[in-house]
């Protein structure tokens, strides 16, 4: 196989910067706490729009095959 051509890596969207070296346990714990808060906030937003009565809603979604 021919050698791989080096592609200039796109940095804008897909590649997250590698995690900086942790500045100690405290920073890690702090970041985790922040992360948990972020997730809680997101779930809070999603909770607000989720259909009520999940079981009935899912049951009533009936489709015919297609294609």
């Amino acid at each position: 196989m021919a050698q791989e051509q080096k592609q200039p890596r796109k940095s804008q969207e897909t590649d997250e910067p590698a995690d900086a070296a942790p500045a100690g346990q405290e920073a890690v714990a702090e970041r985790k706490e922040q992360l948990d808060e972020d997730i809680d906030a997101i779930l809070g937003e999603i909770d607000d729009v989720l259909e009520t009565n999940a079981e009935d809603f899912v049951k009533s979604f009936i489709q015919k095959g297609g294609e």
Partner: protein, 500 residues
């Protein structure tokens, strides 16, 4: 060739009349399409021209007899169901029991994403136009199953050289399709066609595929579909009709789905792929890969065992070498971008799939589901997780969870709203969709019908309808007919200039 070629996608939307689970879906779908047509299209509504359709044409070189075909395969019979052509060159219609949107012909993956996303907005507008105070709201879902045994499709179409032996396509594309799920999956809660098994899987479609090669799309679904209607010169081209994909909402999922597939097809056409990557028991393997979101399932390939990600790496390395050999530094921007993103995604999927949660549908969905499981202690059979799976694909911006996640900055996009909104009305400029779309926009009163490969005019002074064939997908572009359309005030003037 590169990632560029003539291609298009088709999406069948799940449809639900709120509060009426047993409402007739054909009636609801027809109501939607008609509402969109009467609200947006000008005076006359061009009908679809079925003359060139041949859904029973098999790529292996024979026609299926109509009498042995399942009625669902006879898509060319106009059942009086709504069917319109839009000014962006797309088709909006009722297919069986679903509203369906087909993008106009595009030449590159980013345009596919744009006109595919425009289709979501068009479908959403159709729901709004169809909603009347006296009737229940219709809601559409861009998904592929009701998790009760029914599946409906989202298809990709790629124009290929007729000279490529179909056996080569089957041989090289089957392992690619078995493995590309790690990138293209939409994610699904539930295992098995009726979704009763507990768990999460990568794709919504894997459990519905039962054979390796075949013509059917509605029963005994094949990994490689042999339907062959090129809607172009059949001597030169075939249309590869890919039915195995999931309906993607994430732009990067769609972009990589068509970008990587187009590149693999280019290598097949150029006979560049020589290694045999045939997977043992492809149908079983397809499901096994889908059922393992840790991406650890091992595929048996020619005495070796590889994960699906490793199999994707094989295609990636071949594609990188192919592009370097063919184009060197002159490679086009999108081909380069598809390769870079492909590499980046595979690297991170291998390390920890969750690193792709802002790009790929299945990972974004799984991350959300896992957050709920952690917070609320839910098991996979919990109705709430099934609801999240379903509601991820709700097209409404305020209710759809994909759209909510985008709003919350949790999913990255490739396009801005303005360009997608423009694509609801404007056709791509570099294919025949431009001619079709502009004609419908400018001369709607004089167009009796249209299809992928024709526009049919009803002109003053002509007793019969006049058919302008558009058999070459690359002709009829802005460069080709833009000035002519600009200076023709009427359809008659255009027609006479074209036939002079």
């Amino acid at each position: 060739m590169s990632v560029r070629r003539i291609m298009g996608t088709e999406t069948e939307f799940g449809i639900s009349v709120q509060g009426q689970p047993h409402a007739n879906p054909m009636v609801a779908s027809t109501r939607l399409v008609n509402a969109y047509a009467s609200s947006t299209l000008k005076a006359r509504r061009a009908r679809w021209d079925f003359e060139e359709e041949s859904p029973l044409r098999d790529a292996r070189g024979f026609d299926m007899a109509r009498e042995v075909a399942d009625p669902t395969q006879l898509t060319d019979e106009d059942l009086g169901l709504a069917n319109v052509i839009l000014t962006n060159g797309a088709r909006l219609y009722v297919d069986h029991a679903h509203p369906e949107y087909s993008t106009p012909e595009c030449t590159n993956p980013l345009d596919i994403v744009k006109w595919d996303k425009a289709g979501e907005l068009i479908a959403l507008d159709a729901c709004r136009f169809a909603s009347v105070p006296t009737d229940a709201d219709i809601v559409l879902y861009k998904n592929n199953t009701d998790n009760k045994g029914a599946s409906y499709g989202s298809h990709e179409n790629y124009l290929m050289r007729r000279s490529t032996p179909f056996g080569d396509i089957v041989r090289h594309l089957t392992p690619f399709f078995v493995s590309r799920q790690v990138i293209t999956g939409a994610g699904r809660v539930g295992i098995g066609q009726d979704g009763r098994g507990d768990g999460f899987q990568l794709t919504s479609r894997a459990d519905f595929f039962e054979v390796e090669v075949g013509l059917e799309t509605t029963l005994k679904r094949p990994i490689i579909n042999t339907r062959d209607e090129p809607h172009a010169d059949p001597e030169k081209y075939r249309r590869l009709h890919v039915i195995i994909g999931d309906a993607n909402l994430a732009e990067i999922s769609t972009y990589l789905k068509v970008g990587t597939t187009s590149l693999v097809l280019a290598m097949i056409e150029d006979r560049y792929l020589t290694a045999d990557l045939s997977v043992r028991q492809p149908v079983m393997s397809l499901r096994a890969v889908s059922h393992d979101p840790t991406l650890g399932h091992l595929l048996e390939i020619d005495g070796r065992t590889l994960t699906a990600v490793q199999l994707q790496w094989e295609y990636f390395h071949q594609a990188t070498a192919y592009v370097a050999e063919r184009y060197g530094v002159d490679v086009d921007v999108q081909t380069k971008d598809v390769l870079a993103r492909w590499e980046s995604v595979l690297t991170r999927l291998e390390r920890d799939p969750m690193e792709c949660a802002t790009e790929l549908d299945w990972v974004a969905k799984l991350k959300l589901l896992n957050s709920y499981r952690d917070r609320d202690g839910l098991e996979w059979n919990d109705a709430k997780l099934h609801l999240i799976d379903l509601q991820y694909s709700d097209l409404r911006p305020e209710k759809g969870l994909y759209n909510r996640l985008v709003k919350l900055g949790q999913i990255k996009r490739l396009l801005d709203d303005e360009s997608v909104i423009a694509a609801m009305h404007d056709p791509p400029e570099d294919t025949r969709a431009y001619f079709r779309g502009r004609c419908l926009d400018k001369y709607s009163d004089s167009i009796a019908a249209a299809s992928w490969d024709s526009v049919i005019f009803d002109l003053p002074g002509y007793e019969s309808l006049q058919r302008v064939p558009t058999i070459d997908p690359m002709r009829g572009s802005k460069a080709h007919v833009g000035p002519l359309l600009d200076r023709s005030p009427t359809a008659l003037a255009l027609f006479e200039a074209l036939t002079r």
